[in-house]
Symmetry: C2
Subunit: 352 residues, 2 copies
């Protein structure tokens, strides 16, 4: 088999493939409405919110833009800590949405501290929960609390692209007002859907704008099991099928994902590799390249074993490599990957 | 079988289903790059342009918004004839993009004449080629010519959502500068991809804005076989597979689609039904409901035969019904549908 070890898209869940092999469903029919409502209801549980989850046809980036555009009005001040490629993107999106975005730069791999975001005078805080580019996980509840103590009226938006279904998440319990994710990460489906989760507080504070990204319009349609625009309904079917399989065993699933990622770090650290993140996310294991070894050599060593891995992004390009078991891999496949990882690195590292 | 007779989503092409049953491909790998470039090259031939076709993850509506936002600057004057639900949407999108849009209202079912659009003082004209809501087809080349005689610097944007691969289209030959379509109509794939075709003239005149919809950024990435944001690569594979099957026999395919739709009109008119459009598009057959018959009764008569049809939209809601063989149906399936159509209407119409 081909080992897809990239942090998204990932190895597909068998239920996703099964759903995608069915004949086309028309989105304005009762079976499609029922499917859409069921998918949204399962997504609400997955995000841990009593609010709403909107399903958008597009990538996670589209969902990030929808969040920024609908939660804040042009000219509002938002704080955006930048500690990786995706938090950098959140900053760019905030600017493109006409917000007065202030970036707070940290070295890639580090995570912001509560005291960093405890600054007055902001309407919003935008955070990436699991920074896929560095493998770092931020302490969302602590950061949201610190920000809201300084800005009681402020709203917290979070990118949960690689935390949803990979570790525990919960909007209201975390003090997060809105969050986004996508179909091609922890959900183990193909790319093509973005999700925007809105807490009850965010629902009251929506400032919709745009056309395709007008979330008030989506909300009205999706409450009826419809969508404002033609949805990628086949993918919605895949998402529903995977959530039906995973949600009844969520705790065990998250424990497996945590164990798998810890295994990758164990193997890498035993080989003398240095982890990139200060605090590790279970979505991806990121290591600095061994001294003097170019990324291409590591990539090739994995490719010879039919495995696809990921390199660095932004300032980490050519400096790190990343492996992920976020996809539909079980315990034994993970052990196989651990062996593959050791063998691949043996091609590269001098025998000691 | 279930007969999906809606004008999109449609019955899937077997090559699309086959492509969607494959394991996940990562979009930043050589096989994915080759697939993406091949799909774009086939789409260029399908749109009939020497320019570029950009593949966006989203619906056709997203592609319409991308066209309006990137072809025109805020404040520019665009003329938008409104003769159905989708031309109405083009008008709304132009307004949302900050353009000074002027609507030219025609009764639903009619089509604009060259003299209607021969008005000076506009930077752009937005037209829907095949108005899926009414079944009407406009004469794009004649309209583009008349508009450009009055506005030599003007740009013409066209919605080819239900004309691409259903009837002949050609950007430059028609005087059309940019056009959009989607995966779930003539392409016989699931929904989830929008396309923006840009003629060489449009490429020189791009005024990119937005983030997810910034076409300059997409252009740079897609020329390398990448995309700015994670693409629905599985669907790109489906689109490529269908185009590889259809393009070598395009003429025969378009002749089949024309014959099939003419057959639906023949059957309907023989039953005494009155067609909605002034000029018929081959994408869909639209009929006024028989006197005193509610849409629900027609829908039910088809549903009893396992067929899904479409009703009216906007002012035509409750007044018409629509059937389409745009999907992957061959000659014999169309003959079967003709029989189904006759039987369904026999349930409703009084025996004469």
């Amino acid at each position: 088999m081909e080992w897809l070890l990239t942090p998204g898209p990932v190895q597909l869940h068998p239920k996703a493939l099964e759903a995608l092999s069915r004949p086309q469903l028309h989105h304005r029919t009762e079976p499609a409405r029922a499917l859409f409502l069921e998918a949204r209801s399962l997504l609400k549980r997955a995000f841990g919110t009593e609010g709403e989850v909107l399903v958008l046809t597009g990538s996670g980036t589209l969902a990030m833009e929808a969040l920024a555009q609908n939660l804040f009005a042009p000219g509002e001040r938002v704080l955006v800590p930048v500690y990786g490629k995706f938090s950098e993107r959140f900053y760019e999106i905030a600017l493109a949405a006409g917000l007065r975005a202030e970036r707070l730069d940290l070295p890639y791999g580090r995570v912001p501290r509560p005291e960093d975001v405890a600054q007055r005078g902001f309407q919003g805080l935008l955070l990436v929960h699991s920074e896929t580019s560095t493998g770092a996980l931020v302490d969302l509840p602590a950061l949201a609390r610190a920000f809201k103590e300084a800005n009681p009226e402020g709203l917290v938006g979070a990118d949960m692209v690689t935390s949803l279904l990979v570790r525990e998440v919960a909007l209201e319990a975390y003090g997060v007002d809105a969050a986004v994710s996508g179909s091609q990460k922890g959900l183990m489906c193909p790319p093509g859907l973005g999700f925007v989760a809105l807490s009850p507080r965010a629902l009251e504070r929506l400032k919709p704008r745009g056309y395709y990204l007008d979330l008030a319009r989506e909300l009205k349609a999706q409450r009826e099991g419809e969508s404002a625009w033609t949805p990628a309904i086949n993918l919605v079917g895949a998402v529903k099928a995977v959530l039906e399989a995973v949600m009844p065993h969520l705790e065990a699933h998250l424990a497996l994902k945590a164990w798998q990622n810890a295994l990758l770090y164990q193997v890498g650290e035993a080989l003398g590799l240095r982890p990139v993140p200060e605090v590790k996310s279970p979505a991806v294991a990121a290591f600095y390249l061994p001294e003097g070894v170019p990324y291409g050599a590591v990539k090739e060593a994995f490719a010879r074993r039919n495995a696809v891995i990921a390199g660095g992004q932004g300032p980490l390009k050519g400096r790190i490599f990343r492996l992920s078991l976020m996809g539909a891999y079980d315990r034994y496949e993970a052990l196989g990957v651990a062996a593959l990882f050791r063998e691949a690195l043996a091609d590269i590292l001098p025998a000691s």
